[in-house]
Structure formats: C-alpha cells, structure tokens
C-alpha cells in the first residue's frame, strides 16, 4: 500500500497542498481528478522526487520514504510519465527506452544486438509498427508518448504515475494504452492516472480521488459516483458572489465576434460567437488546452492564423494580423507567461512601461525622459506599484508588481479593449485582490476586458459574462449572476 499522510506544500506563501492524506492499493487503477491548480501535479511531483521540500509523510509499504530526485524514486519502484515528453529526439527508440540502463558486452561496449532485441520485445506488446532502431524524431507525438510509456514498462516499477497520458493520442492508440494499463494492474501494480477526460476516468479507474484547492475531498469507488456528482465535488464548497451587476454596462457594442473558426493547419477553435459591450468584462473559462488562451492570441494577432467568420471592432471588420496593428486599433494583450512574453529583463520600470508608446515622448528626435517619467509615475501611483524607484530593473519586483507594470504598459496605449491571459497567475493573494479591483475600475471607465482564467472563482467574481470553452469549442455563454461554478465546470468538461 502507498499512503500519503498530511502532505502540505507552499510556494512563497501560497499553499498549494493542504494536509492531503489518502491511500492507494496495489493492483488498482486510481484516477486523480480536480480543476486546474487543484494540486494534482504538485502531489505527483512530491511522490516522484521532483519536489523535495514539503511537510508530511509518504509511506511505501511500511516505510516512510523521502526521495531527493526522480532517479531515487525510480530506483524505489516509482515511475512517472510526464505530460511533456522527456525523450531525446536524436536517439533511437531502443536507446531512449534503455537510457542509462544500456546492456553491455563483456568488453564494456554497448551490446546493441541485445538492446534492440529487448526493445523490440517490449514494443511488440504495444503493436508498435516501427523497428526500435527508428529515431524518436521520426515519430509523431502519439507514438512518442507510447515510447515514453514503454520505457516505464521496461523498468520494474511497482507504482506508475501517468499525467494526462492520452492528451496527444488518437482513439486507437488510446485503446492499446488502456489494454496495457489493465495488464499492469493485473500484475499487481499501482497505477495513478491523472486525466481531464472524465469519460476515460470512468472507463478505466477503480478508485477516484478528488482534490480541490489543494485539499483532499474524497475517494470514491467508480461504481458509486456519477459524472455530475464528481464535478460538483471538484468545485469545492466555496461560494463566490459576483461583484458585478449588469447595470454597470453601457449598451454600445465594441466587439462583435460572429461564427469564428480558427485554423492552424487544422481547425483549432470553432464556433465562437459573442458581442462585447463597452465597459463589459467577459471571462473565458475552460481547462488547460481548451483553446481559451489560443483565442486571445489569435484576436491580438500574436499568431496570424487563418479564420472564417467575421470580427467587427467598433463596427469595422478587422483581420488580426500583427500586434502593432492591434495596438493601433486600441487593443492590447498581456500574456500569461510574464517572463517569456512580458517583462524586458535588465530594463527598468520606466522603460518597461513606455515601450509601446515611445512615440508620445519624442521631442526634436530625442526622447523626453522627464515627460516619460512623469507619466509612468502617475500610472504607477494608480496601480499602486511597490518599488524603490522608477529606475529599478523590473526583474527585481515581485510577480504581482511585475504584472502591474505590464498592465500599466497596456494602459499607457489608451486601450479600448484589453485581452488578459491569466492575469493573476503566480501572484500572491493580496496582489490578486488589488488586480481584481483595478480591472473592475478600468471597466467602469469604459474599457472592455476579455479575461481568460483557469480559476473559475476568479471569473465569477469579476466578470459580467462567462464564455466556456472545451476542446477548442465555445460551449456556452452565461450571465455571471445566473450561473455557478458547478455549471461552468460541467460545460468545461464537455466532450464531443
């Protein structure tokens, strides 16, 4: 038996796991379900030695174990298959499967014959159509996933964790995988299966463990719970009042998205229909990979995808193509990845704030830095940015204050429409509150906002309406005052 006992874990004051305790039996498949950010992945990282600092105990058999690295966990019989693939693309399948455990001849050289024989043997079990001498880079993502799984099968692990193993697989590949998982189960191994696809969970799992907001909610036998019940367990008990009332909104329509399908080689987003009013806050809800982030990128022109349908901004048809064109139309976007897509490292707060509007400060061909500082100062005061000086490099600020600087960067462009992807990601509770208030104040000044977020409570609080995506499709639009978290989650988990 594997037991978690009072596991807690915090990141810089934010508790992401709170006294989680439950048991897992060998010879059973346990599904781990919960919203994004419920703590599933964090818990599995604790178990597999990726995270070393936590409180509580992990008991394997009758022993308390602590793993300092994934390698140590693997030696103790615990393997994890990550969502992101961990293969070395330039090596062959066999070399990947036996990486670090290659068979050698008595002269100490690699025994390639045995390597490929053993690998082929394992692959046969997966009805794998390629030789194990194939390079991993020549496989599509689905087969690469199978290789990753085959690697774990070749290690004699007693506990196997799979984090969303089916997200990249086709239906037939999923069938093969499920068969293998059932064989492993019959061999007496403990399987922990994380998935957003509840249909799969009900098909495969013996036991279902629900986490919500970092807390253990319950462990249920498959037969004893139905889907809608499971979803309401996932949302937890907290109830959020919306702080918005429909009356706040003027009636002028700013953005009209009509029957939009977006293509990137294949269709990635479909059936998007909504009208956004001036001063309205529209929330985009959905699971990771539901298309909500992608839609914002498309609307801003971060990636110029092909699309069908029409998009009208202030009554004028637009085709999103480049960020600088969108800014000219008074649209601004702030990415969820501050470090990669947001902050200009090494540059100070002033320079970071004004980068999109430098043309306003040009005098005789040079920048008027005094004028620049004055405007940034006023903006920083409005946003309540905590800093030592405007000359401070942006990377020395806390996450919340960095986000405020980026928000300020957008506000200086005088936007009519702000597109915010996960605006409170990775920032502490206090700063979150401040940002909510700022966003609502902006709306009352007549700026329209579209906010994509994985945290449904946050959307319920600050949005007037919420649009739900799942699997790249718009599923529903709700007035916030007439819906609740459970209903939104039901639609977010909708499958075809």
């Amino acid at each position: 038996m594997l037991s978690f006992s009072e596991i807690s874990k915090s990141y810089s004051g934010n508790e992401v796991l709170h006294d989680v305790s439950f048991d897992i039996d060998y010879g059973e498949i346990t599904a781990l379900v919960g919203e994004n950010g419920a703590g599933k992945s964090t818990l599995m990282k604790v178990l597999s030695g990726v995270i070393k600092e936590y409180t509580g105990k992990i008991i394997v058999g009758n022993e308390v174990r602590e793993f300092n690295s994934p390698r140590e966990a693997e030696l103790a019989g615990i393997s994890i298959i990550h969502q992101e693939l961990n293969l070395i693309e330039d090596l062959t399948i066999a070399e990947n499967i036996f990486l670090g455990r290659e068979p050698v001849t008595k002269f100490g050289l690699l025994d390639f014959e045995k390597l490929y024989e053993d690998a082929d043997e394992i692959l046969r079990g997966f009805e794998f159509p390629f030789s194990s001498k194939t390079k991993v880079s020549d496989l599509n993502v689905g087969w690469q996933q199978i290789v990753e799984i085959a690697r774990v099968f070749s290690i004699d692990s007693r506990i196997i964790i799979m984090d969303e193993p089916t997200s990249a697989l086709t239906e037939s590949e999923i069938r093969i995988l499920f068969e293998k998982i059932k064989i492993l189960k019959n061999q007496g191994k403990a399987i922990i299966f994380i998935s957003h696809r509840l249909e799969e969970v009900f098909e495969l799992a013996d036991e279902i463990v629900v986490l919500s907001n970092g807390c253990f909610v319950g462990k249920f036998k498959n037969e004893q719970i139905i889907k809608s019940e499971l979803i309401s367990k996932m949302i937890g008990k907290k109830h959020y009042e919306t702080q918005r009332t429909i009356n706040d909104i003027e009636n002028e329509i700013l953005l009209n998205v009509d029957g939009v399908d977006v293509y990137n080689k294949k269709k990635i987003i479909s059936g998007v229909n909504f009208k956004l009013k001036k001063g309205e806050i529209l929330g985009l809800a959905g699971l990771l990979g539901s298309g909500k982030s992608e839609f914002l990128k498309f609307l801003y022109g971060k990636k110029s995808y092909l699309f069908t349908g029409t998009i009208e901004l202030k009554g004028k048809k637009i085709i999103p193509k480049y960020p600088h064109c969108s800014i000219d139309e008074n649209v601004y976007y702030i990415s969820k990845d501050r470090k990669r897509d947001g902050i200009l490292t090494g540059m100070n707060i002033t320079e970071n704030s004004t980068i999109s509007v430098l043309q306003n400060y040009v005098k005789y061909g040079c920048l008027n830095k005094k004028m620049e500082r004055q405007e940034v100062n006023a903006e920083a005061e409005f946003l309540n940015i905590k800093m030592n000086s405007l000359q401070q490099p942006i990377e020395t600020l806390s996450g919340g204050n960095q986000q405020k600087v980026l928000l300020g960067r957008g506000l200086l462009t005088d936007p009519e429409l702000l597109l915010l992807d996960e605006p409170t990601r990775g920032i502490d509770v206090g700063a979150k509150e401040e940002i909510y208030n700022i966003l609502m104040e902006l709306a009352s000044e007549g700026i329209s906002l579209i906010i994509s977020s994985s945290e449904i409570p946050e959307l319920l609080r600050i949005c007037d309406r919420i649009l739900v995506f799942s699997r790249g499709k718009q599923r529903a639009v709700f007035n916030t005052s007439e819906t609740n978290g459970e209903e939104i989650l039901q639609f977010a988990f909708m499958e075809d």
Partner: protein, 335 residues
C-alpha cells in the same frame, strides 16, 4: 563605499573607471626619455594611441548596436576590406571624385548590413551564420573587384584629387580620423541613449517575444542595427584606405574579433539587452593603451597578443558583468 555603490548604479562608469586605472598604470610604467620626461604622456604619443584605435573603434561602435540587440556581426572586417577596395578603385580607376567615392563605399557597407539583417530577421537564421556567410562573400567580392591586387593611391592628374588628403591631415595637432572616431562615438551614443530607436535596440535584445507583443517591428529594428554596423565598418574602410594610401582586399582580417573584444571589455552583454557606447569607447581605449605601453617598451607582437587574451578575460571578470553572471548561475545550479 560611495564609489562601489556609484559603480553599481551606473553601468557605464565601470569601464570609465577601468580606463582611468589603465591610464594611471601606463604613466607609472612608462619609459622615460633621456631628459626625464614621461614618454607615454607626450602629446604625440597620446594622439597616436587614438589614431591607431580609430578604425577598430568606429567598427566597435556599430558592433555594440548589433550585440545589444542580441546578435553578432562577423562580417565587419570583410566589409572594411570591400569598402577600402571600392574607395581606392573609385577614386583612382573609376574617377568618381571625392564625394561619390565616399557615397559608394558607404553604400556598400549599408547594403551588406541590410543583407545581414534581412537574412537574420526574415530567414530566421542565427546572425552568427548569416554574417559568417557575408564575411566570406564580401571578401570574395572585394577580391573580384580588385582582381586580387591591392590598389595604391597617387595624387594628381587622372589620379586622386587633393581633397582626399584630408584624412591624413591633422587639426590642432590631432589627426582627422581621431575627430571622426570621437564624433561617431558622441553621435551614436545619443542615438542609443536618447532616441526611440536606441530604446528599441535594448528591448529586442532583452526579450524579442515581449517586444513583438508590445507592438515593436522587431525585424525592421534588427535590420537597422546591422545597417549601422555595416555603415560604420565602411566608414572605417575609407579611413583605412586614406591612411595607408592603399586599398587592399586582404586587409581587415580578424577585425571582427578585436571589435567584439572591445565591446565585451566595455561591459556589453553578449546575451543582448545590456551595454553602452561609452563602455565600448572605454574598451577600445583600454586595448589601445595597453598595446601602446607594451610597444613603448619594445615588447613584440607575439607577447602582446598573449597578453591581450589575458586582458579580455580579466577585464570582463573585474567588471562583474554578464559573463561573470553566467558563471555565478553555473555555480548556483551545481550546489
């Protein structure tokens, strides 16, 4: 305490501080003339230092723009040779006259720079590769034009006009190339520090993704940085020809590395997003002063080169800039 915090806040002060130290060392270790005066401090010697570094200096200013924007330009030496060749042939064989010869030479630099930038930006290629190709191609073009011969410059009928002598003239005892170097430094310092373009150069070097999302036309800005580098390399080529009275397609070999060395000593980060013209100016002077003092002692080129290698590493370490930062990162990862 006050000094160290001042150095911490103003990055450009560090290299200036470095030059001052080297300058003082040069005075201390200078040989003395028979009359007991310090040879290093003689006016002729000091202007000579500046004259000798003016070509590399001008190239280094352009290189600074490219490196701050997160690129590198290996073609500067070859572009200098191409410009030098065009200058000599333009003024001697093609009889273009002073103005048109200079325009032609500068145009060659601007267009090679444009190609470097366009291939890097639109071809999504690393600038190391794109400019490596240009390094070869521009040299080849220079050899093609000159038929593999250097061209000497003479004055008179059917030869160079007297106005071309201006590059070897001195004003108030200071050679014209020195004035050009100083003027270029001041002008491009203003361009980098005080204009929109300069700010954009820092931004795309710091974070290209974020710059694009903030509405910057990243490709265009990147191309301009290479045009600046090409243009200044061509200017250095004109000065080179005028000083030697010869356009040689085989000159300028290895100049790119000297320029990169000067830029790096000046505290500009090869990772992009950080650096200054004043730093580069100081870097150029540091290299110039050191080879001058070694030359005054009659120390040979072989030893000078070895010492230069040591100086580059030492300067970067002392300034505690990006390289040092990389080291720190490496060590903290290990522990």
């Amino acid at each position: 305490m006050k000094l160290s915090s001042a150095l911490h806040n103003k990055d450009w002060l560090k290299p200036v501080f470095g030059v001052t130290i080297i300058f003082i060392l040069c005075i201390l270790f200078s040989p003395e003339s028979s009359k007991g005066s310090i040879i290093f401090l003689k006016f002729d010697n000091l202007t000579n230092v500046l004259r000798q570094v003016s070509e590399i200096g001008i190239i280094s200013i352009g290189m600074t723009f490219v490196i701050i924007a997160g690129g590198i330009d290996l073609s500067v030496g070859s572009v200098l040779a191409l410009s030098a060749t065009l200058t000599a042939f333009g003024i001697m064989d093609w009889q273009l006259g002073f103005t048109f010869t200079i325009i032609l030479a500068l145009f060659s630099g601007a267009s090679t720079g444009f190609i470097n930038g366009a291939v890097t930006a639109f071809g999504k290629m690393q600038s190391f590769i794109a400019t490596l190709a240009m390094m070869t191609a521009a040299r080849g073009f220079a050899l093609f034009i000159s038929d593999n011969n250097s061209r000497n410059i003479g004055f008179g009928e059917n030869a160079a006009p007297d106005s071309f002598r201006i590059f070897t003239d001195s004003f108030a005892g200071i050679p014209l190339p020195v004035f050009i170097f100083v003027a270029v430094t001041i002008a491009f310092n203003i361009l980098l520090q005080k204009t929109r373009f300069g700010r954009y150069v820092f931004a795309i070097g710091s974070n290209e993704n974020a710059s694009k999302l903030a509405g910057l036309k990243v490709n265009r800005i990147r191309i301009y940085t290479f045009v600046v580098a090409g243009l200044l390399s061509a200017l250095a080529g004109i000065i080179h020809t005028a000083q030697l009275l010869q356009g040689n397609p085989n000159d300028g070999v290895g100049f790119e590395l000297d320029a990169i060395a000067a830029v790096v000593i000046g505290g500009t980060s090869l990772m992009g997003g950080k650096g200054s013209i004043s730093g580069t100016f100081a870097g150029v002077l540091i290299i110039g002063l050191l080879s001058n003092i070694l030359g005054l002692h009659g120390i040979q080129k072989d030893f000078q080169l070895m010492l230069k290698g040591v100086i580059i590493i030492a300067a970067v370490f002392i300034q505690g800039n990006s390289m040092n930062y990389e080291w720190k990162k490496l060590f903290t990862k290990r522990s």
